[in-house]
Amino acid sequence: MADQIVLDHVTKRFTTKTLGDIVAVDDFNLRVHEGECFSFLGPSGCGKSTTLRMIAGFEDLTEGEIELCGKLVSSSKKNLYVQPEDRGLGMVFQAFAVWPHMNVFENVAFPLRIQKVNKTDIEKRVKEALHHTSLTGLEKVFPGDLSGGQQQRIALARAIVTNPKVMLLDEPLSNLDPKLRETMRFEIKALQRKFNFTIIFVTHDQSEAMAISDRMMVCDMGKIMQIDTPENLYNKPCNRFVHNFLGESTFINVVIQNGKAYPKGHMDQPLDLVVPQDAASEMVVATRPNEIALTGPGESGFVTHIEKRIFLTDRTEYLVPVGNQLLKVQTPHRVTFAEGEACAVHLVEPMWYPADDEAADKERARRQLV
């Protein structure tokens, strides 16, 4: 597969009044393949939006190069900067950005009119774009009279009508209600299959990113943390930040002794885990509350009891003491234990990370202020 978007040592620095120099994007190297749906995911201020705007050409870069479809579009060395309108992209914005003074047809026809496509072709291509976005029949309507979902469909139709190779989606679903978000997600995927473009999808919603992406990039504080498929990212996060960011997490601090892992400060009973070869003497075991098997004390696992039972809407949460730490376990409603009841917990393939790193947490907090 050819690489459609290449970021080579891309860096963006700017100066703020309150915090001095900020490296918004720090040495991003990235290759997005043709036909891929690739997500940028991260908390606000992580650099994902800046990166997208650099690809679109709304921001220049401080260092590095960006290549689109084999063509260099931004380069600090060669002092090259291609205007956004000459990059041949499609783009959909969070606030829809459909033009309220044009009706649906005119909105979608606009890119073609700019390209001076002849009239019959415009009609044909707009009709097709509207058909694929289920807007047929609304040609004469003005966007102000349409719902948010319909407006976002106009934006999609307008983006696909020129048949771009690369589609940039900047939080396109964030302004829609949850139910509509899910439908639109399916529609975007269907359009991609049909028109075979490459998608860059920016979002801060991890479940949305996982549902839509082939691969995704998690970034934090202007640095790339990890790039992988959603399943690999979720199941094998490279560090605690990614683990915590991609879903609910629960951590146990453990001490390794004689090849066995004991909850820190509680050396009576080891956890039933296979300790990796390269483990240091103190580690953090990370898992997800709904990946812990909660069984009666007879079964294999760490024997303990239910400290607290919290009834949540779609699952039951149990707080289970492991030494003097509390482990969060979530089960479907049909698994029921009472508070105080004895039980066993078994962690399924957890992740192992080095013990706490407070310095990184502090830096993150500082960044949030930007």
Binding site: A56, G57, Q94, A97, V98, I114
Partner: protein, 575 residues
Amino acid sequence: MKRYNSGVSAELAAVDGRKHLNMDKMMTAICFVLLLIIVVIPIVMIIYHAFFNEGKLEIEMFVQQVTEKKNLEAMWNTLKIAVFATILGTIMGVFYAWLLGRSDIPAKGLMRALFNIPYMFPPFLGAMAWDMMFNGRSGYINKWLVQLFGLSSMPININSVWGIVFVEVSYYFPFVFMQVVSALERMDPTLEESARIAGAKQRQVIWKITLPLVKPAISAGALLILTTSLAHFGVPSILGYAKGIYTLPTRIYAVIYNSGGSFDGIRQGAALSVMLVIVVAAALILQNRILSSGNYDIIKGKSMRPTLIKLRGAKIPLFLLAILTLVLIVIVPLVMIVLISFLKAYGLPLEFKNFTFAQYQKVFSANGTIASIRNSLFVSITAGIICMFLGTLVAYVVQKIKPKGKGALEVISMLPYAIPGTVLSIGVILAWSGRIAGINLYNTIWIILVAYLARYLSFSMKTSSAALLQVHSSLEEAARVCGASHTEGLADITLPLIRPAMVSGFFLIFLPAMREVTTSILLYGPYTRTLGVQIYSLRDAGMIPQAAALATVAIGIIIILNTIVTKITKDRKGV
């Protein structure tokens, strides 16, 4: 949640029982009565007297006035001036708004502040200054140019229709400028970015996206220029009167003035007023047509700074052009007025040996001057205060009590906004010079006050209305639940919350009223000249340096007042 908001006050009223209802009913009744007296009666009187004489229908006078050549010419001039002032003022306003809102022109903050100055500058003083410079017979710069180049005639004649258009454009373009700048600032930048992505060049984005999107702001500003120009008295009277160039407002003045204020003259004025009102109404209807075809919301999305367009090579020339414009329309006239005010006599060369302070002494020793400043302060402040409360009362009735006939109430209070000041004056004269219940206010300061009330009521009603809309009913209800009665809730919560709007409503009336001539020129009596009228009459009497001296003082007062107002409104930003 529709139920929650609509009819809430009615619900509360039902719970509160009769007491509450009576208070609301009383407020509603007061509104109707006051508006009847202030607005409806003068308007009815104009229409009545234009068509009736001594109780009998008499259409001849109206027909004769409308078909008289001089009047038709005046109407033609009015239209020509208004249309060209509107077109040129709009182009200028949009151009500078775009330059300041979307380009990387330097010193933006300062420039924005400077571009508001022409808005404060009384146009008729500007006209005076330009007349001093480019009068077709005696303009100082004209004379200087003739000398310099050995010309045989004066090169520029400001006493023409085009001169009037030029001066009006200079002081009216901020109407469009201010509207468009704020629209550009509120516009979601992704609307423009998405056009770039769609392949449009920067220039195409401006024409196809930006301008159409700010069209409502442009046409709102343009309409303001149009109606103001149609009704404007000062500039055409100063520049055109002597040359026999009339517009409808100056023609109305002339008709009444020439008849020595006789009833027949006033009746003829009323007939002309009807003509003027028809023209303005046509303009309003036109605007409604244009606006309704594209009313849309461009303010949404996350606020981001728009990408500014790099002017590159054009940056410095455009910056200089903007500065030059400001110098030309603000500094030059100002300097001219000040210089003339120091001259021993008008016509003497502008040389140091001809300068004196004597004109200031003369102006201030004449008893008319101090009285005129006092009169203006009195009517402006009184009108401001009364309108502030009355406008708020009307706004409260319309927004919160919503009685039957609230639509009528709203229309009546907004009506004077669309009616030229000159016309209103005639209505007030017809109504309050002894014809109704023997009340004769003619030649007293009260008649000016009544006219100001009618003219400016809509200003305070608008600001209070907007503020009341912001005060969600839950704020007052929260007070009720906290133990406050209906009146207490009003006094403790609603009134304090709209107080800033009331105060700015006051200044919105006070400031223009201070420099007003259009209305008071028809209403003043021997002892009731306003500041504007005094300057106007001094000039009319040929005492131009004295007029200039008083104008300098007036501009000083206006600048000081404006500074105070900006200070006050800034301090209130927190609320």
